[in-house]
């Protein structure tokens, strides 16, 4: 059996089944959707066991060089609390684990978000408008006006009326222009993915049909 051709045919059939959704929901799409969801769920279970549980927890508790590290029982207990959701009587224990995840996530993100999304942006905006040529001055002006008016748009303590409203309108207009540019850029990237898929169908899959029918190749 030629495994390469089998792989190409499977890829092509699955691709065509998925694209059939563009017409309407149908049994082919349903089959591939369930296949995709089921396979990926199974894949991620194994992935998490192999790449998260074993190296990050089990091997820390029982190091390969021998011994036992008792501190790693704590995350194991939190994991059991999550599984305790199965039984209604013990389900509330999972709140401890969930609280830990949410609290640690929020705390850790607070510092990095504040650093990258606030301080670094402010630092990058404090510069001279008078440097460079006319175009450079214009670009700098758009940047500073865009940042300040954008911040005014996201200022929630004041109604968008009067001067605040007009400044916020400038901010949202600049944001929309930026979104438009981003939209076009991303669509180009998506089209290249589509082209890649069509290339697979036309250049890899189609030529195998005459070969299978014994018409050459």
């Amino acid at each position: 059996m030629n495994w390469e051709i089998l792989g190409i045919w499977l890829g092509a059939i699955v691709t065509l089944c998925l694209y059939s959704f563009l017409y309407r929901d149908n049994p082919f799409y349903k089959f591939v959707e369930h296949l995709f969801v089921g396979m990926s769920a199974g894949y991620w279970v194994i992935y998490n066991i192999e790449n998260v549980l074993i190296p990050n927890w089990w091997q820390n508790m029982f190091p390969p060089e021998g011994g036992f590290n008792g501190i790693w029982i704590i995350p194991g207990v939190f994991a059991l609390f999550m599984i305790a959701r199965i039984l209604p009587k013990t389900a509330s224990l999972s709140r401890l684990s969930l609280g830990m995840i949410v609290g640690v996530g929020a705390g850790l993100n607070m510092v990095s978000f504040f650093q990258t999304n606030a301080l670094a942006q402010v630092k990058g905006t404090i510069f001279s408008l008078a440097s460079g040529g006319v175009w450079s001055i214009f670009s700098s002006l758009v940047l500073v006006v865009g940042v300040v008016s954008g911040l005014v748009y996201f200022f929630f303590s004041k109604a968008h009326t009067g001067v605040v409203g007009r400044t916020a309108n400038v901010g949202i207009t600049i944001l929309m222009v930026a979104f438009g540019a981003s939209f076009g850029y991303t669509i180009m990237a998506r089209l290249s993915l589509l082209i890649g898929r069509f290339q697979f169908l036309l250049e890899d899959w189609l030529p195998t049909i005459p070969r299978l029918l014994g018409l050459g190749g």
Partner: protein, 400 residues
């Protein structure tokens, strides 16, 4: 005696003459051999020190290379510690620093650098020793500590004000007023509400914000008697969503209407999840779809499918690259921070409102900072004293 003296002088002069003759005119082969025998240069001034302001387990090594002699092929870092003497790394010639991150805190380690040439150790530096240790304070982030403490102080002030009954004004956020309408529409049409909390886990701040809004949507669906579907991409998000929805149903006195099976885990895979949610959309035909949380490339796939089934769609994300798709395909879009403000706006809880007011205060501070900074830097080009003001402000917001 006189003859002996004359003989000694003759011998001395003969020896000096031979030496002078050798120095003055050496054979060519002798010169070549001398150049080949130049000594391989060694590392000097080796210093070993504990890496400052870190969590320990690290030693910094710095050294210089001698200037006279032939270059080695490579350098070796030798460490002597409790495990004995070992070569811990080989570095390219010309390297003058190395950080050893395989040490234990509180143990003394000795280091020396050897120069390799032709596969053999040709020279060695002197020995330097250090004891790695952990430090409690990282001074590079003291600025951030101060700013965050001030922000926390302002937030606590607003929270306390809210608790004491002071009205905390928040402007209307377009799209949020439509939440109730969307749920009402679904009830009238007898169709479910679909809530998609993004594809990230519970450690993501957008997912956390999404869960707060889910609580509000759950209360409304329980109140109106609509069905609420929440497919999730992460198992932990599913558990949290179940808790949040259950809480919402209990709050409006409809715990019997809560159906755990409506909050499902599909798969961790991004596009597997997108395919699954698309299937739910076309089969269940929800009248209202909420896409609130962190989204990546699947955003347009979901939003377009939602649009094709005729649902009213309210989306919100802080992912700049995905907002354009939601703006194009959804009826209402919460842009960036509006997603975080939405939870406060909807819940009207003093804690969330106080937090939002505190963030507004920080934004106002930064706006003033930017305006003063830009004006100072621009005028500073012509009048130098103001330049230092801009530099000071830049330093103020610099965090290592």
């Amino acid at each position: 005696m006189k003859n002996l003296s004359a003989f000694m002088i003759f011998l001395l002069l003969s020896a000096a003459g031979t030496a002078l003759a050798d120095n003055a005119d050496p054979p060519e082969s002798v010169v070549t051999e001398a150049a080949e025998e130049l000594e391989v240069i060694s590392a000097v001034d080796l210093e070993a020190s504990d890496t400052p302001e870190d969590a320990g387990g690290s030693v910094n090594l710095t050294w210089q290379m001698e200037t006279v002699g032939s270059d080695p092929d490579s350098l070796g870092v030798i460490r002597s510690g409790p495990e004995g003497e070992e070569l811990i790394t080989t570095l390219p010639e010309g390297t003058v620093m190395y950080i050893d991150q395989t040490v234990d805190n509180g143990t003394e380690y000795s280091y020396w650098i050897v120069s390799y040439s032709g596969g053999y150790v040709q020279a060695s530096s002197e020995v330097a020793a250090a004891i790695p240790s952990a430090q409690w304070i990282y001074r590079g982030r003291i600025g951030m500590l101060i700013i965050l403490s001030l922000m926390a102080g302002v937030i606590i002030y607003f929270i306390e004000s809210g608790k004491k009954g002071k009205e905390l004004f928040i402007r209307e956020i377009a799209g949020l007023a439509a939440v109730d309408d969307a749920v009402g529409r679904a009830t009238e049409m007898g169709k479910p509400v679909l809530y998609i909390p993004g594809i990230m886990d519970m450690d993501d701040i957008q997912t956390i914000a999404s869960m707060v809004i889910l609580g509000r949507v759950a209360r409304k669906t329980a109140e109106y008697g609509s069905s609420l579907l929440v497919p999730t991409c992460r198992s932990v998000v599913m558990s949290v969503a179940q808790e949040v929805v259950k809480e919402g149903y209990i709050q409006v006195g409809r715990p019997d209407a809560y159906n755990k099976e409506n909050i499902q885990y599909l798969t961790d895979d991004q596009f597997g999840y997108a395919a699954g949610v698309d299937g739910i959309m076309v089969r269940e035909k929800p009248a209202a779809i909420f896409l609130l949380g962190t989204f990546y490339a699947e955003s347009l796939i979901l939003a377009e499918t939602g649009r094709s089934v005729g649902a009213i769609q309210i989306a919100g994300t802080a992912m700049p690259s995905q907002i354009p798709f939601f703006v194009a395909a959804c009826d209402y879009t919460l842009i960036g921070e509006e997603l975080f403000a939405a939870s406060a706006y909807l819940s009207r809880e003093p804690k969330l409102l106080g937090s939002l007011k505190g963030q507004d205060a920080a934004k106002l501070f930064f706006m003033i900072l930017i305006v003063i900074g830009v004006v100072s830097a621009t005028i500073g080009d012509f009048w130098s004293p103001l330049k230092s003001v801009a530099e000071f402000l830049r330093r103020l917001v610099t965090v290592n």
